[in-house]
């Protein structure tokens, strides 16, 4: 473990030096942290997420989730309580996510079921992952250059291209390609890969609006890696800065959760 930490530190130092050595621009890890701060408010918050699912260009499903999120004071990673609001059959079901500790709660049978990250990936809620997580905490970034890419509005956009490699074990995505606006570090596009280099999903961040003190993307288009005809559009509304008490973020509170 020590050896791994040492190697990571050496790698971090070397990459930080090399990226800052090439230009006066900030290092890749700093750029990544800056883009994290654009996606995620610095304080606990609540947001409503509407997921519209398309297959072959036709809308097939709409669901609404209420997300309550808070950074873990130990590792900086987000912990979230997700409430299913619609459709009616899923109303008030809950999901608790704290790293890889994932629980699903159904109020009809009072059962809290522990699920694996793979099981969660199959559900729509997993798409929230591409929005509320701190990449700089779990990934080592390298700057792979600047290039013009098509952004979420199908316009050419000058971007930094970052290559991210997981440095903490048990993360959902092994490596990520991330394109950030070269002028302001806004996330534009990301590709998420498995350990076997399989493309899991592509995300486009768009519709930037002033929310909770910063210009943040309020719409994300997610294209499934295996089946590109399966597209999910996430829309974020009603952002609120709010207290998310520690006691909420544990299995034994799930039956107790009652939205205001």
């Amino acid at each position: 473990m020590k050896r791994r930490s040492f190697l990571t530190a050496v790698l971090f130092a070397a990459l930080g030096w090399s990226s800052s050595g090439l230009s006066a621009q900030p290092g890749a890890q700093e750029i990544l942290a800056a883009s994290d701060a654009i996606r995620n408010p610095a304080h606990p918050f609540g947001v409503t997420m509407t997921l519209t699912e398309y297959r072959d260009g036709k809308q097939t499903d709409v669901s609404t989730l209420a997300v309550y999120s808070k950074a873990n004071k130990d590792n900086g990673q987000f912990r979230s309580l997700i409430r299913f609001v619609a459709p009616a059959r899923d109303a008030n079901k809950l999901m608790l996510k704290s790293g890889n500790d994932l629980w699903f709660y159904d109020p009809a049978n009072k059962a809290s079921i522990r699920i694996s990250p793979q099981q969660r990936l199959l559900g729509q809620a997993a798409n929230g992952d591409v929005v509320t997580f701190n990449l700089a905490k779990d990934y080592q970034a390298t700057l792979a250059g600047e290039e013009d890419v098509l952004d979420g509005d199908r316009q050419k956009h000058r971007c930094h291209r970052l290559q991210l490699k997981a440095v903490t074990p048990d993360v959902t995505y092994d490596h990520i390609e991330l394109w950030l606006d070269a002028s302001n570090n806004r996330p534009v596009k990301a590709r998420f890969y498995s350990e076997s280099d399989r493309l899991l999903k592509t995300a486009y961040y768009r519709l930037y609006q002033q929310q909770l003190g910063a210009e943040r993307p309020t719409e994300t288009v997610i294209i499934d890696g295996l089946d590109p005809r399966w597209v999910t559009v996430l829309r974020f509304t009603t952002w609120v800065e709010r207290d998310v008490p520690e006691v909420w973020l544990q299995r034994d509170y799930l039956p107790r959760f009652k939205p205001e």
Partner: protein, 419 residues
């Protein structure tokens, strides 16, 4: 003329997706901004079902029967004033036999309680509460309040059984800390005997003894959050329990559910008090593995130390048929295994062939007598509707766990609408 045009347009659209799927995805209309939907305080659905079953009659002949069912299920979870929560859950099942010729109905008041939460970390509840514990799928040794809870068995699916049962009247308090929780409850005796009357609140089924339960859980690490339980039934020895889950890989979760304590052997129910009391352990342990094609498989081993061994179980009906029948009835009411050991294989496959079509399947095998239960369900869900096709079969020799059940096989087609 229209068909070729539609086909051509479809092919062109397909070609566009193939050429540049990203551009095609980004040209989709996107989602309209939704107003923050407040959680609805109620959920109501009605379900109609028709089916056909083969049943072994009292004369030991097999008879095919047409069955029809109508169910109405209501859940209310309201907060009339800040800090107070009112919960009501009720289900009415109306069953017909022989093409609507015979009718019976059962109403189950699943829950009716008030919950007072003066602070985030302290809650007190009073009323009829479905107190459920356990991490296993098919057999839950720490689910101490399952005895007498099943009033209207509408499915063999363990998930549905847990939903459609009646709670016990109790007063319950819970205190939470960061990463820890302590729950204590007391459930008093209210009535002596259960009632099969259709609209009876059936206190006698769930509150026939004074009972108490304490549950403590503590997060030891991000991956380890065990739960410990102590349960006491009036006139019985305390029972201890534990629930534990562990993430084995990115795709696999293992679980262990255990309870133990001095208790009468289940054969007491059939053979009388001469069987004596001893320390019995009950256990369910298993692993759920999820594949990237959306198939989840669970294999579970189930052990009831108070159940009968293969030889005792095989000899019981020969020694005393009434004792055998009493034991079966006692096991059914207690939702307990009559014998020692069983296996369960449970599978769910989401979006099978087409989106929203889910397959669920289960095989339960009694290791002592080799009888087994097979169950299969195809369920398609739209936003407010669900269509389901179910099949069930009980197989085994006469007087075995599943072979001894009157129901031999059944088909059912159901339609559910959420209001």
């Amino acid at each position: 003329m229209r068909v070729p045009i539609v086909l051509t347009l479809a092919l062109l659209a397909g070609a566009a997706w193939a050429d540049d799927p990203d551009a095609a995805a980004l040209s989709l209309p996107g989602s309209e901004p939704q107003s923050a939907e407040s959680a609805k305080a109620w959920q109501l659905f009605a379900e109609g079902a028709v089916g056909r079953s083969v049943v072994r009659t009292a004369s030991l002949a097999e008879e095919a029967r047409a069955t029809e069912q109508l169910s109405i299920d209501l859940q209310i979870d309201a907060a009339p004033v800040a800090g107070l929560r009112a919960v009501l859950a009720d289900r009415l099942d109306i069953n017909w036999l022989h093409r609507f010729r015979q009718r019976s109905e059962v109403n189950t008041l699943k829950e009716a309680y008030l919950s007072w939460q003066p602070r985030d970390d302290a809650i007190v509840d009073l009323g009829r509460i479905n107190e459920y514990s356990g991490v296993a799928i098919g057999y839950n040794p720490t689910d101490f309040f399952r005895h007498g809870a099943l009033r209207s068995p509408v499915s063999v699916d363990p998930t549905v059984i847990k939903k459609n049962r009646q709670g016990s009247v109790m007063v319950r308090g819970q205190k939470l800390w960061e990463g820890a929780s302590l729950t204590a409850l007391y459930s008093p005796r209210l009535s002596r005997a259960p009632s099969s009357s259709a609209f009876d609140l059936d206190w006698g089924a769930t509150n026939h003894h004074d009972r108490g339960l304490v549950i403590f859980s503590k997060r030891l690490s991000e991956d380890l959050n065990p739960q410990w339980l102590i349960y006491k039934d009036q006139g019985e020895s305390p029972q201890f329990g534990m629930n534990l889950t562990r993430l084995i890989t990115e795709a696999a979760v293992a679980y262990l559910e255990w309870s133990g304590g001095r208790s009468p052997s289940l054969s007491n129910e059939g053979l009388g008090p001469q069987s004596g009391r001893a320390f019995h352990q009950r256990l369910a342990t298993g692993l759920t593995y999820t594949m990237s094609n959306k198939l989840s498989l669970t294999l579970e081993y189930e052990y009831n130390g108070a159940g009968l061994r293969a030889m005792e179980w095989a000899q019981l009906p020969r020694a005393s048929l009434p004792a055998y029948l009493r034991l079966r009835e006692a096991a059914k009411v207690a939702q307990e295994m009559p014998t020692r050991r069983a296996w369960l294989l449970h599978a769910t496959w989401r979006d099978l062939l087409i989106p929203r079509l889910n397959l669920s399947a289960m095989v339960r095998r009694n290791i002592e007598d080799h009888s087994h239960l097979s169950w299969l369900e195809l369920r398609y869900h739209a936003s407010r509707e669900e269509l389901a096709l179910q099949w069930q079969r009980n197989a085994g020799e006469w007087f075995t766990d599943y072979g001894g059940l009157p129901l031999r096989s059944a088909w059912q087609f159901s339609y559910r609408h959420y209001f």
